[in-house]
């Protein structure tokens, strides 16, 4: 199963064939379970509570 990485810097830009519905602005941000972390990243998504979070989803392809 492919895994995805999110970070604050870019990796490659790849077009995804399907165009799924984007999460709505103003909606609660969906929680994401973390598989593995680096560089003192929080242990869980809940640890971001109360903070401003810039999520950048990148690929390792």
């Amino acid at each position: 199963m492919a895994n995805r990485l999110f970070s604050v810097l870019a990796a490659a830009t790849l077009v995804v064939a399907a165009a799924p519905a984007q999460v709505a602005k103003g909606a609660p941000a969906p929680a994401i379970p973390f598989v593995k972390t680096w560089n003192d990243a929080p242990a869980s998504f809940d640890d971001f509570a109360g903070k401003v979070v810039i999520l950048k989803f990148s690929e390792t392809w």
């Binding site: 199963m1 709505a24 593995k36 680096w38």
Partner: protein
């Protein structure tokens, strides 16, 4: 998770790119609710945990991010027990000198429950740590080059940390800004640039052209300033759209 995938992230992001920022590996299915169409995709989440911007938007400006950050409380985690509610409220208000006074008084109170004492002492240590980080941040902001953004942040820090060392440091930097002609010039240019940007809606083609013209005039008038450099970068971005 495959070991190969994990190794790739380590090699590419951590080792080769020297990434110092937090990295998290997640499963493809778990991010489906975000509706990602492209990689990379950026989402901004506000302090209330709601989605503030999606990839279809323009990336929020530094000023917008700063305004979101202004709503962030430095409150550390503490037990849900009601006895901590007053302290929680002080943290939430961002009145750090009151947090300090509350904690000092609480720790010194006779007959304090050992568990509560531990919580208060940890919070006091945390406050000191945050104050030290804020003081360091003042130094970074004071070094520029974006003095306009720095001024806004220093004014906020001066208010938040009033009565504590970071506020004194911020105040000192603000006084230096006001007395330095070169910085004053930068501040005036920075404010003028925000005014120019606010006059046009760059999502409309006709207004985008006018904005480019206005930015070009601005860059010429304020040549040599950081704001002029920012205007030139904005012109390049607008022309590339």
């Amino acid at each position: 998770m495959s070991g190969e995938e994990e190794s790739k992230i380590q090699d590419v992001f951590v080792t080769q790119l020297g990434a110092k920022y937090p990295l998290v590996q997640v499963d493809e299915k778990s991010i489906a609710p975000y509706g990602i169409r492209l990689y990379p995709s950026v989402y901004v989440i506000d302090p209330d945990g709601n989605v503030f911007s999606v990839p279809d938007d323009r990336m929020p400006s530094e000023a917008t991010i700063e305004s979101l950050l202004a709503r962030v409380s430095l409150s550390p985690k503490m037990p849900a027990d009601k006895q901590y509610d007053p302290l929680r409220a002080l943290w939430k208000k961002g009145e750090y000198s009151k947090v300090r006074d509350f904690l000092d008084k609480a720790v010194a109170a006779p007959g304090l429950d050992p568990a509560a004492k531990t919580v208060f002492e940890e919070q006091r240590a945390d406050l000191d740590k945050k104050a030290a980080a804020a003081e360091k941040r003042v130094g970074t902001l004071g070094a520029g080059p974006d003095f306009a953004a720095a001024q806004d942040q220093l004014e906020r820090m001066e208010k938040q940390w009033r009565g504590m060392p970071p506020a004194a440091a911020a105040q000192k930097e603000l006084q230096r800004f006001a007395a330095d002609p070169a910085i004053k010039k930068e501040l005036q240019a920075g404010k003028a640039l925000q005014k120019v940007k606010g006059q046009f809606d760059s999502s409309r083609v006709a207004q985008r052209k006018k904005l480019i013209e206005a930015l070009e005039q601005f860059a010429k008038k304020h040549e040599g300033t950081e704001a002029a450099k920012e205007a030139e970068a904005e012109i390049a971005r607008l022309k590339a759209r």
